[in-house]
């Protein structure tokens, strides 16, 4: 019914029977101002010394993403130190119609954290203080620029840990993690960030500071705004502070790397693991043979623990309070699966160094992909029903069989999340490969009712792809919300939501 109300291509928009006025509707296509010397003077007057970054060389790392795929042309980066500074600079930018890109660790994989044109970069990097920690509840309050690994190290001393973990932990910032609703490799144990974020302070486009920081576990008073901000990828506001519920850091950690002969065996093993390991299962990561070979080829200090190669590999981790109990559980489960033929080989880490080596392989795969794909890489991050999970990889591999591109698959299979990656090895083949993948991959995922972005978000890469997973009725509401919170469209423009 709603789709009938919306007329494409018209300058007015009707949603929920309400017509947006012409002015508001034309704000859908915002007009931006360029940064002038006066603007820079203003920023300089409001921010600390050293908080202004200009010059092509100094801005180089701010302007490009980790994958070397997206390059912005920003001429200015600002590094606020306090929420008040963020508020002042946003208020100013909103008045002057200066577009901004909020940036954390800049480790995103969909081009969401770098400018498309010359948007001003607002880097949260120096807002990195840990503000409070409650030893009994394990609740930590910190600024958005805190690096994930720094937070985890701090918590380790206190007997707690962050409820998420990802390969980028040494660089990514918690504000960015929350803005993208990051998943990571321990999602299967600790669940979504949506459950761990208790409170949030954020700043709207017009400079309004919204302080809903709290450490209460239960608070059903009104609409939960922080849930809107989580996963909004910097398009609805800038997150400045967070209060996070953190789990206890349990002492007994075990890991095993397993070799399996087919993807069916992997799914069988997953079901069995959830049953046998139950509450101590903390990670269940999948890598196909091609991915492991890439890792062994390119990563330093990583070696094959097996005598043979296998079609599928699984990295299992358990975390619990009793080493003997967990060790027995893990060994029992693995022996049973081995005897049943579900897995054909496996190694159990005998010390932390061996455990770290398994993770070095798994977490090093993106880097290995970059090294292999000398002429370009394509990364896809999808959620699929288990029965379709690996079929996408084999279909893609077949589709690209005549092109100089290696297709590899890995992922958080415990969460149904596949990372499909393609390394392009010959010059000039990039466009051909992209043409084969878009819209093929998106249509394939839609036909299986999967998500075209499980955890990486939409950013710039998938800004026009949302309709593959969400209906127009939903996207229209998103646009309404975006317009309500950022009428001038200054927050991370060109990202997340489609133009039409």
């Amino acid at each position: 019914m709603l789709t009938g109300l919306l007329r494409r291509g018209s300058s007015a928009m009707t949603v929920f029977g309400k017509r947006l006025s012409g002015a508001a509707a034309s704000a859908m296509k915002p007009v931006y101002s360029e940064v002038t010397g006066d603007d820079v003077d203003f920023f300089r007057s409001k921010l600390q010394p050293g908080a202004i970054v200009q010059g092509t060389e100094d801005l180089a790392s701010y302007n490009k993403d980790w994958m070397n795929q997206y390059f912005g042309k920003s001429k200015l980066a600002l590094r606020p130190k306090t929420t008040e500074e963020v508020s002042q600079l946003l208020r100013y930018c909103n008045e002057k119609r200066i577009p901004v890109v909020p940036q954390g660790g800049n480790t995103g994989l969909v081009g969401g954290s770098v400018p498309v044109k010359d948007e001003v970069i607002v880097s949260m990097s120096i807002m990195n203080k840990i503000l409070d920690f409650d030893e009994v509840s394990g609740t930590i309050t910190c600024e958005a620029g805190c690096v994930l690994e720094t937070l985890d190290d701090y918590l380790a001393d206190k007997g707690y840990r962050m409820p998420l973990d990802l390969g980028a932990k040494g660089s990514c910032q918690i504000g960015g993690n929350v803005a993208t609703n990051a998943g990571g490799s321990r999602f299967v144990r600790y669940g979504s960030l949506r459950n761990s974020i208790l409170g949030m302070e954020f700043v709207l486009a017009d400079g309004t500071i919204v302080d809903t920081l709290t450490s209460l576990k239960k608070d059903n008073t009104g609409y939960d705004l922080k849930q809107l901000m989580i996963g909004s990828e910097g398009t609805l506001g800038i997150i400045t502070k967070l209060t996070i519920s953190t789990p206890r850091r349990l002492p007994a950690v075990n890991a095993a790397l397993l070799g399996l002969e087919s993807f069916e065996d992997v799914t069988k093993l997953l079901v069995e693991a959830k049953t046998s390991l139950g509450e101590v299962l903390s990670a269940f990561e999948f890598m196909d043979l091609e991915a492991v070979e890439l890792g062994l080829k390119h990563l330093h200090g990583v070696r094959d623990p097996f005598e043979s190669r296998y079609k599928c590999y699984v990295l299992i981790e358990t975390v619990g309070s009793n080493p003997t109990h967990d060790g027995e559980k893990l060994e029992g489960f693995l022996e049973k699966s081995f005897e049943a033929g579900t897995l054909v080989d496996g190694v159990i880490a005998q010390d932390n160094t061996q455990m770290d080596s398994f993770w070095a392989l798994r977490e090093g795969l993106p880097e290995a992909l970059l090294k292999e794909g000398t002429q370009g890489t394509l990364k896809y991050d999808v959620s699929l029903p288990m029965k379709d999970f690996y079929e996408l990889v084999t279909d893609t591999r077949e589709r690209l069989s005549q092109l100089p591109a290696a297709t590899v698959g890995w992922g958080h299979i415990g969460d149904g999340n596949l990372h499909l990656n393609i390394a392009i090895t010959e010059k000039g083949a990039s466009e051909l490969v992209k043409a084969q993948m878009d819209p093929f991959l998106y249509e394939w995922v839609r036909s299986r009712r999967g998500s075209i972005s499980a955890e990486h978000g939409l950013g710039l890469m998938k800004a026009e792809k949302i309709y593959y997973t969400k209906p127009k009725s939903a996207v229209d509401i998103m646009k309404l919300i975006k317009h309500a919170l950022d009428p001038n469209g200054i927050l991370n423009p060109h990202k997340v939501l489609p133009r039409s």
């Binding site: 496996g346 005998q350 160094t353």
Partner: protein, 252 residues
């Protein structure tokens, strides 16, 4: 020629990757809830022994440990790596290297191995004494800090890492050997081998049964963490640097 029996020593220590914490009263290292693993140099010793067997240069590899009941984990790791059987000398107190050497001596007299292979040192005390003391007690030749081991013409040809470079020695059998980092890269314990290891025999011997004097001769006075690194400071000019070096640090 092939060694009939190799005795490998394995020690259970705080895991190499764990950050060590000193107990607030300075009486020792905090080991509560801390991950314990096989000493990395002992892993290398086990790996070398198993490789000797795989090359047909040794018939039987016996893994030995001294410690409380939890040391069974360490023996099991050795068995999973390929040792044939285990000896667990049960002892609830920490032993000094001299006492350890005496216990090994007693077991050597029982087992009559043709080589005793140990790690060069343990990463908890860094003593680097047991192998040398044991060789002295047994009056056997010793090859320490090995980066290479070969069995040639009824003798052991070893390469040692020394300050000046590498030293090659021929040792008669039996001998005590200790292993250094570059000797080999230890294998992972595979699931099939872990399962096989469960069926391998492990003999438990209470330390008192060996009739060895394990009395300690050392008194630990205090254990402290290394002083925390102090932050540096920035200076604005050479003159300021010189001034600080002269008047604050007093080094020029």
């Amino acid at each position: 020629m092939s060694l009939s029996r190799v005795l490998v020593g394995v020690k259970r220590v705080v895991d190499y990757a764990v950050k060590i914490r000193v107990k607030p009263d300075g009486s020792g290292v905090d080991k509560t809830n801390v991950k314990m693993s096989m000493n990395p140099f002992c892993e290398i010793a086990v790996e070398e022994s198993v490789r000797l067997k795989e090359r047909g240069l040794a018939q039987e590899v016996v893994a030995m440990t001294i410690g409380p009941s939890q040391n069974m984990d360490t023996i099991r790791t050795a068995l999973a790596m390929g040792a044939d059987r285990g000896i667990h000398v049960v002892c609830d107190q920490d032993l000094e290297p001299l006492a350890v050497s005496k216990v090994f001596q007693a077991v050597v007299q029982k087992e009559t191995p043709q080589a005793v292979i140990l790690g060069k040192q343990a990463i908890d005390d860094d003593c680097n004494q047991t192998g040398q003391m044991l060789a002295g007690l047994l009056d056997w030749p010793q090859g320490t800090f090995l980066s290479k081991l070969e069995v040639e013409n009824d003798a052991l040809k070893v390469t040692r890492e020394v300050d000046g470079g590498l030293e090659t020695l021929n040792l008669s059998i039996p001998a005590v050997l200790t292993c250094d980092l570059r000797l080999n890269e230890p294998r992972y314990a595979s699931l099939p081998n872990i399962m096989k290891a469960k069926r391998k025999p492990v003999e438990s011997i209470p330390v008192a049964d060996l009739g060895v004097d394990i009395k300690s001769h050392l008194d630990v006075l205090r254990i402290e963490e290394t002083p925390k690194r102090q932050g540096g400071g920035k200076v604005e000019s050479v003159a300021e640097l010189v001034d600080k070096l002269k008047n604050e640090a007093g080094v020029i």
